[in-house]
Amino acid sequence: MPLLTITDLQKAYVSPEGSQTHIIDIPHFEMEEGSQIALRGTSGVGKTTFLNLIAGILGADSGRIIIADEEMTALSESGRDRLRAIHIGYIFQTFNLFAGYTALENVMLGMMFGKGIDAGFAQHLLERVGLGDRMGYRPSQLSVGQQQRVAVARAVANRPHLVLADEPTGNLDRHHANEAIALIREICAENNAGLLTVSHDEEILGQFEEATDFAQVNRA
């Protein structure tokens, strides 16, 4: 059974002038359980919108998104919130850590809305990403690379089925970017989570067995 099945997904934005811009039009997209997929695309082609639709942050205009046997597109907003909390981890280009919280607390916040807080697992994850001695540090006290590692730990904190990574290395230098993507892939594999990465960085994309052009997936 596939982890993620998307059929006839449509999303359009209404501009301030009132005209509609179709940004997503995906007839079919599928991901197997535990698989790792990379999508290639320059900015402005709807990659983030695509991930937000999968995460249920945005509602689709039409079409179906089925994650782990549950249909995201059939749910109300709060239903999508619940599904996201349980099934999805999200890694952002800008990390989106909470400035006022320590590394450990940031990871624990990633557990809060899903299956419940497990401080031991949060600690284990931080040790796994090499931040065992930085758990009490706030994001501002960590390097950019360390911040990204906290974000990676948070993304899998809730044992999700699917991790979405939106330009996950966009804020890192080459060396750290390669390290980060390797870590993300390892962690997802260790935690049996599928990984869907979107990026425009060929070197990052090159690390995956296969990278698909987003333009091939999205007809809009």
Binding site: T48, T49, N52, A55, I57, L58, E77, S78, D81, R82, R84, A85, I86, I88, Y90, F92, Q93, T94, N96, L97, F98, G100, Y101, E105, L109, G110, M112, F113, G114, G116, I117, R154, N158
Partner: protein
């Protein structure tokens, strides 16, 4: 349950992150709550103390005039005396079988502002300032001998004047202290009373005979001037008293006496019942208390507004935080709840600190009341306002949180996940 603890965790962290505005809004809530509790609590206790049953007498008989002045002057030892009445009136009362207790007071002297009241030993042997409780002399002391120049001091007066057993002092003429009005007679302190937490604590008691014999005192008991001579007995017809303190055998007697003395008589005034006379005074100055209460309500409303404003203003900078929470699976209503809880927490913290403010205001106010009247207000005496005010304030704070919470609720996740640079 886990979820709720975590929400409180977020709230607590957010309050700490905005420590300054949290502190200021908390303080303003504390001030408002403390003020309301103090104004209402102090008022309730003062009214009870001034009108309630802790007085020990039912009525005061004195010169024709204002019953309020009579009560203030004799029961609370404030105000001036409206004049004197003949000794015979005291005797009539004392011999009246309907009267349980009649105690004469003669006023007109002071020692450093503390009133000297001339009276008889009955005050110490029969009078109960509270049901079943009489004046008690502190260790080693005793009540005065009516034939000697001896004094018994109220506890507060003794403490403030620094007078102890065996000390001598000379009275000053008048109810207000005036250095030049010193009498020559010397009085010896033979007793200091146990504290009564009543106006009596501020009084210096001496034998009534002493007042008559004080140099310069002229008696007009029978309308003619008479000056007491040393060694000679003072005939009763010359004696006079400022007031007769009365306790009746039953309440009906007050009705009858009120009719005969106040409505038919012309020479004297019976202030009865004492509580009602004082209650009328509080009714007259009730508006002042209402204004105070109104001001403190306003402080609470303004404080509630400051909760609203401070959180509302912080929402814009926190939009991204809410968006991240949502991206982690938080629902809109969770974000809403965080903000409402935050407002309620500020109000709750304010209420807790409000009790400290209440304590401070109450302590200051009760020190003034005590110094002025001898009445001691009880800081810890319970009053419904200690429940009603906190509940209302926390409710108000929660409601104040709804407006910013709606703003947070509406935060769009997708557009706020990327920082605007």
């Amino acid at each position: 349950m886990k979820k709720r603890i975590s929400l409180l965790f977020i709230v607590r962290r957010s309050l700490r992150q905005h420590a300054l505005s949290t502190l200021i809004t908390t303080l303003s809530i504390a001030l408002g709550t403390g003020l309301v509790m103090a104004v209402i609590g102090i008022k309730s206790q003062s009214v009870a103390a001034f009108t309630g049953g802790r007085i020990g007498f039912d009525a005061v008989l004195g010169a024709r005039g204002s019953p309020l002045q009579l009560v203030l002057n004799t029961v609370f030892h404030l105000e001036t005396s409206p004049g004197n009445i003949p000794w015979a009136m005291y005797q009539t009362m004392k011999d009246d079988p309907r009267v349980e207790l009649a105690v004469p007071y003669a006023l007109g002297d002071n020692f450093h502002g503390f009133r000297i009241v001339g009276t008889t030993g009955t005050l110490f042997t029969k009078f109960e300032y509270r049901d079943g409780v009489r004046f008690q002399a502190q260790g080693g002391g005793r009540f005065f001998d009516p034939t000697r120049q001896e004094a018994v001091l109220g506890n507060y007066a003794a403490r403030k004047l620094g007078l102890r057993l065996g000390d001598n002092f000379t009275p000053y003429h008048g109810l207000v202290f005036d250095e030049s009005m010193r009498h020559d007679e010397q009085y010896t302190v033979v007793g200091v009373l146990e504290p009564t937490n009543s106006p009596s604590d501020r009084v210096i008691w001496i034998p009534i005979e002493g007042i008559y014999r004080m140099e310069g005192h002229v008696l007009r008991g029978d309308g003619e001037d008479y000056v007491a001579q040393p060694g000679q007995e003072i005939p009763d017809e010359h004696k006079e008293v400022s007031a007769v303190m009365l306790k009746f055998r039953n309440p009906q007697i007050g009705f009858i006496m009120d009719a005969t003395i106040n409505k038919q008589g012309k020479v004297a005034t019976l202030a009865w019942p004492i509580g009602a006379v004082m209650a009328r005074l509080f009714d007259k100055i009730g508006w002042m208390n209402q204004i105070l209460a109104l001001v403190s309500y306003l402080v609470i409303v303004v404080a509630g507004g400051s909760i609203l404003a401070s959180i509302y203003n912080s929402i814009n900078e926190r939009r991204r935080e809410f968006a991240i929470l949502r991206s982690l699976g938080a629902r809109r209503k969770t974000v809403f709840a965080v903000i409402v809880l935050e407002a309620a927490s500020i109000a709750a913290l304010g209420v807790i600190m409000g009790f400290i403010v209440y304590g401070a205001i109450f302590t200051a106010a009760s020190a003034i009341v005590r110094a002025q009247t001898g009445i001691v207000l009880d800081l810890l005496k319970l009053h419904p306002v200690f429940v009603i005010a906190p509940v209302c304030v926390i409710l108000l704070g929660t409601i104040a949180g709804v407006v910013p919470a709606v703003k947070a609720y509406r935060t769009d996740v997708a557009t706020n996940l990327t920082p605007i640079s």
